[in-house]
């Protein structure tokens, strides 16, 4: 059973595809060992920083990373 792309489905009708999230990962090399946060992660952190304690207690920050080799194709 070999798959070329995979998606993560949560029962709360939340659908996360690996492409959308893994695109934030940038290959790090010696020449570019410094990277900056993406707009998406900055936006998420800024939004999360405004949450009150009650909201934080009910919230999980989720990141999905697809590292499975030889399964390079993903859907958004």
């Amino acid at each position: 059973m070999k798959f070329k792309s995979i998606s993560l489905v949560l029962t709360t009708a939340l659908v996360v595809t690996f492409a959308a999230l893994s695109s934030q990962g940038r290959s790090l090399t010696a020449a570019a060992a410094t990277v900056a946060p993406t707009k998406a992660t900055t936006k998420m952190a800024t939004m999360a920083a405004t949450m009150d304690a009650a909201t934080i207690a009910k919230t999980t920050l989720l990141r999905v990373v697809h590292t499975s080799p030889n399964s390079p194709h993903v859907d958004v």
Partner: protein, 194 residues
């Protein structure tokens, strides 16, 4: 992305093929936490696993936080050391594990090597780590076999989120794989390059 804390039935399928399920399990996401779900390994050689790391996104108090995740299934344990091999920041990290360290902001000459050796796998000389940033480094790829894939180090940069609590020290990274390894979380001392 923020999601409601609680139990979720997580199902991973081949794209456009809901019958080809590669992962299906109930996962509990704790409130006030941040997690990284890593799909790693391959189906073909039965190393595929989904591993869940609890990230420390709590306040960094002016330091830079580095989270290292080892996701190369056929690589041995690794160290993260200074390029002069005098200071070991991450020691003997096994596949499927992560380590978190807070360091002073600055420039660092770092390399990733097999545990106890000097064969550089990743050369990170001149890495600039800014204050109050969280750098998640995920080592990926496959070293051996016909399906070997060049190893890469993926970098994700996020901001700390005050109010979200750090994970407990020495938590386990839950996974459906039989090769579950400990996740080590702690704080280590390091000095930036002058």
């Amino acid at each position: 992305m923020p999601i409601p804390a609680g139990d979720h039935q997580v199902t991973i399928t081949a794209v456009n093929d809901p019958k080809t399920v590669v992962f299906d399990a109930k996962v509990t996401f704790k409130g006030g936490s941040a997690v990284t779900v890593v799909a790693e390994g391959q189906l073909a050689d039965k190393t595929f696993a989904v591993r869940i790391f609890t990230d420390d996104v709590s306040a960094t108090k002016g330091k830079a936080r580095v989270i290292v995740i080892h996701a190369i299934p056929d690589a041995g344990n690794v160290d993260v050391v200074t390029a002069d091999f005098k200071t070991v920041l991450v020691d003997n990290l096994p596949f499927g594990s992560s380590m978190t360290l807070d360091v002073p902001a600055g420039k660092y000459d770092l390399v990733v090597v097999p545990h106890g050796k000097k064969d550089v796998v990743f050369d990170l000389k001149g890495s600039k780590l800014d204050a109050d940033m969280i750098y998640t480094l995920v080592a990926t790829g496959k070293l051996t076999g016909k399906d070997a894939v060049k190893v890469k180090l993926l970098a994700y940069v996020t901001l700390p989120v005050p109010g979200f609590l750090p994970p407990p020290i020495a938590t386990m990274a839950p996974t459906m794989s039989a090769t579950m390894k400990a996740t080590m979380a702690g704080t280590m001392a390091a000095t930036p390059k002058k």
